[in-house]
């Protein structure tokens, strides 16, 4: 392990990380960008470097190329296929790649690990053939692969319409769309519409065009779907809901995306429950700085705002890092931030509308008793409730009693639902119940690699 410190370590090569890293070197910071995928883009721009101009994924996706180009053109030390498995508040990062385990030290760290899909715990959700809508999009992005049989999209959110349109353009239209936005969502979102029609006109137009594209392709659409269940023996074969059912070979679920808080929670940063977005968010200031001086957060990992906003918050974080390291003075930082903030405000305008329109129904966070919550250890909602009644006061005690959260995913999938179920059982606000305390290794590391740490 070297005692030398680099200026800026950025974790995650999505839009926030790419923008931050490229800008940081322009500002004169010695910068490393670490990402576990083989190529840059994160999830939203995954595979964009190899995409064709006529990609069914569309122009918003291809726009990610400019971020990748800027990253490649700059002097960023870009470490692909590299996992961060521990971060020390003093700025030491433990990395793992094919070359083995190593540590590096940075004066400032930016966590830009983005978002994950909100888990959709319906009966049968663990059956093979039940995946997230994003997973189907990843197949398209990485290999031009489309569903081979009857694919049904079920859930709500802009991604449902985007994926449907992309699959249609790719020659594999979904067999049906089962939209779950509950009726009250429309009223509560509509109240915001008048004042947003002008400021958010671009994104509203885009959304409406996508829905129109899907309708025109003749995809059967059902709205206000409730009681979704996936049926099948060794794989999903049928999807059933309160007022209908249909055969399916691939059920693609989606109830929005939530911040990936695994690293921010492992660092014991303060988080708050955002009731508008129904997710945990790290507490940050307007630059993404946290209670830990060495660590800041940018992109969807700090709160869902989309790809364009992520690039902007990444750039703001780079400016803040440069000021923190005395490369620019605060006045210059603020001056250069001003246009970025104006653009960010424009991007954020639509969020309250989307948050209301696509607010998940209560059962998405507090499912029925028989449903598996912790997929890894196969722990049900009923078992979590029993642990709470036995005295467990939060997810960490529930984990001790039931093993939920002890599997390979380390609570990434079950975390929010476990907290919500416990809050419901104990009759206390979810903010009080709290979250898991994830620990290193953030991703698995072999004993051999661990034993070889710090050796030549």
């Amino acid at each position: 392990m070297t005692d030398e410190k680099i200026d800026f370590a950025v974790i995650g090569a999505g839009p926030a990380g790419m923008a931050a890293a490229a800008f940081a070197v322009e500002l004169g910071l010695e910068t490393m960008l670490i990402d576990e995928q083989d190529a840059p883009g994160g999830q939203i721009y995954r595979g964009v470097e190899r995409a064709e101009d006529d990609s069914p994924l569309g122009d918003d996706y291809l726009a990610g190329r400019s971020l990748v180009d800027r990253l490649r053109a700059g002097a960023v030390d870009y470490r692909s296929a590299t996992t961060v498995w521990h971060i020390d508040p003093d700025g030491t990062l433990s990395l793992l790649s094919a070359a083995g385990a190593e540590t590096i030290r940075a004066r400032r760290i930016l966590v830009a690990t983005g978002a994950i899909e909100r888990p959709v715990p319906i009966p049968g959700w663990t059956l093979p053939g039940v995946m997230t809508a994003g997973a189907a999009q990843i197949m398209l992005k990485t290999g031009d692969l489309v569903p081979s049989g009857r694919a049904v999209l079920a859930g709500q959110g802009p991604l449902i319409w985007l994926v449907a349109a992309q699959l249609i353009r790719a020659g594999a239209p979904p067999a049906a769309i089962l939209e779950t936005a509950p009726h009250p969502n429309y009223h509560s979102a509509a109240r915001l519409l008048p004042r947003l029609l002008w400021p958010a006109r671009r994104v509203l137009w885009k959304g409406w065009s996508l829905i129109r594209e899907v309708r025109r392709a003749g995809v059967p659409i059902r709205r206000e779907v409730t009681g979704l269940r996936a049926l099948g023996r060794d794989r999903v074969s049928r999807v059933v809901w309160d007022s209908g059912e249909t055969d399916t070979d691939l059920l693609l679920l989606h109830e929005g995306v939530i911040p990936n808080t695994q690293i921010s929670l492992a660092l014991a940063l303060e988080h708050r429950w955002d009731d508008a977005q129904l997710c945990w968010r790290p507490v940050t200031d307007t630059w993404g700085a946290t209670s830990l001086q060495t660590v800041s957060i940018a992109g969807d990992g700090g709160g869902i705002a989309g790809a364009e906003a992520a690039a902007l918050t990444g750039s703001l974080a780079a400016l803040d890092a440069a000021a923190f390291l005395d490369r620019i003075d605060p006045a210059e930082r603020d001056r250069r931030a001003a246009p970025l903030r104006a653009a960010l405000d424009r991007e954020l305008a639509i969020r309250p509308f989307l948050d209301r329109l696509y607010r998940p129904a209560p059962q998405i966070l507090v499912p029925d008793d028989g449903i598996v919550v912790c997929r890894c250890e196969e722990v049900s909602v009923a078992q979590i409730r029993r642990a709470a009644r036995l005295g467990a006061q939060g997810p960490n005690q529930a984990k001790a009693f039931t093993r939920c959260g002890m599997g390979p995913c380390q609570g990434r999938i079950c975390g929010p639902v476990v907290s919500a179920v416990m809050a419901d059982t104990l009759g206390r606000p979810i903010q009080e119940i709290g979250t898991y305390r994830p620990r290193a290794p953030y991703k698995p590391i072999t004993l051999g690699a661990l034993a070889g740490l710090g050796k030549a």
Binding site: P395, N396, L453
Partner: protein, 375 residues
């Protein structure tokens, strides 16, 4: 007249392995105890536990501790069976004996000397051990690496699942009418002989007996009750691997395989105050020793790891005490909540129920720290 006052036969402060084993024993003895506990995020040594029910290295230089540990090890099987019958929870106790591996001739010689000293100090009570070397050792421990020069073995050692044990003790406690009061901090304590009142928020509870089993929290609590519990934190880190097919049933002090299949690796000893952060260099050293002991471990992935604080008395030997100033107040402090669960539930709790500690517990008193060192 105080509103919101609840009366109990005994109050146990601390819902970890020590407190819940004692509380279970009191409930089983027919008392109505209250078990006070903190919330979801607390130091909780019990959650950091490795899971050994270990006799082999306990009580060097303190024969009373050696005997207490042996007693607990003998009580363990019946406690486990009773918990299974009452709560349905199998705590996974196995007692195949245990190994302490030595990775150099010097370690082996030192270990043999320690074992011999244990045997001598045990006197008539007896302590049987064997020093084993590779040909025989390899039969008992598959895949043993060439770096292992030998090991000490006793038949008294075993292991269990410490979290299942905690769960079972809690459930058993509730089943027998105990009352669990979590998320409590003790705001004030009214202390008088055989009359103890604790206030937390607007609640007050009272009992003629009280047991301080609050782990590291005991250091501050004890003086209020005329007791002394000078415990300090000692950090230990643990690694857990992905589940693997069952390879070895014999636990060693630093490597053991759980019933589910994951392999646990311990056990660092770090003097760092109240710091539960993990240290990659310590994790690396633990991994290195494990891989030297069993080279095939190198391929296994660590999927979980943590750091926790042991509750460490100054000489490592438990502190059990009853208050002279305030009769009815007791304390229990140790760093082996799993191993001593048998003794805590089946020996210590009955003493508390009877209102007085057996004379055999006298050497465990904190008074031993008042004695000036002989010149």
């Amino acid at each position: 007249m105080i509103a919101g006052m609840q009366r109990f036969d005994a109050i146990v402060i601390g819902g970890g392995l020590v407190g819940s084993a004692i509380a279970y024993g009191l409930a089983r003895a027919g008392l109505k105890p209250a078990l006070i506990d903190e919330g979801d995020v607390a130091f909780r040594a019990s959650r950091g536990n490795f899971g050994l029910v270990w006799v082999q290295s306990k009580g060097l230089g303190a024969p009373h501790y050696q005997r207490w540990t042996r007693l607990s090890s003998e009580e363990w099987p019946s406690l486990a069976a009773e918990l299974k019958e009452r709560t349905g929870i199998d705590v996974g106790h196995e007692r195949p004996g245990g190994m302490h591996l030595c990775l150099s001739a010097a370690e082996f010689d030192e270990r043999r000397a320690r074992m011999e000293q244990m045997r001598v100090e045990a006197g008539n009570f007896g302590f049987e051990y064997r020093m084993l070397e590779p040909p025989e050792l390899k039969d008992m421990l598959p895949g043993l690496g060439p770096a292992v020069v030998g090991a000490s073995w006793t038949r008294y050692d075993g292991h269990a699942n410490s979290l299942y044990l905690l769960h079972a003790l809690h459930k058993g406690f509730l089943d027998r009418g105990g009352v669990y009061l979590p998320n409590r901090t003790v705001d004030y304590a009214g202390v008088a002989p055989n009359d103890f009142r604790l206030g937390s928020g607007s609640d007050e509870i009272a009992a003629p007996k009280i047991v301080l089993a609050a782990g590291l929290g005991n250091a501050k609590l004890a003086p209020l009750f005329g007791l002394s519990a000078p415990v300090r934190p000692q950090r230990g880190q643990i690694l857990v691997t992905e589940r693997a097919g069952r390879v070895f049933e014999m636990p060693t002090t630093t490597v053991r395989q759980t019933v589910e299949g994951g392999i646990m690796i311990g056990d660092s000893m770090e003097d760092v105050g109240f710091d539960i952060s993990q240290r990659p260099d310590v994790m690396s050293a633990m991994a290195e020793r494990a891989v030297k002991s069993f080279p095939w471990l190198a391929e296994l992935q660590v999927v979980r790891a943590w750091a926790a604080l042991r509750v460490m008395p100054p000489d490592g030997t438990p502190i059990y005490d009853e208050s002279e100033k305030f009769p009815g107040a007791f304390t229990a402090n140790c760093h082996s909540g799993v191993t001593l669960a048998g003794a805590h539930a089946n020996a210590f709790a009955p003493m508390v129920a009877a209102g007085v500690l057996d004379p055999v517990m006298a050497p465990f008193s904190a008074k031993r720290f008042d004695v000036p060192q002989a010149a």
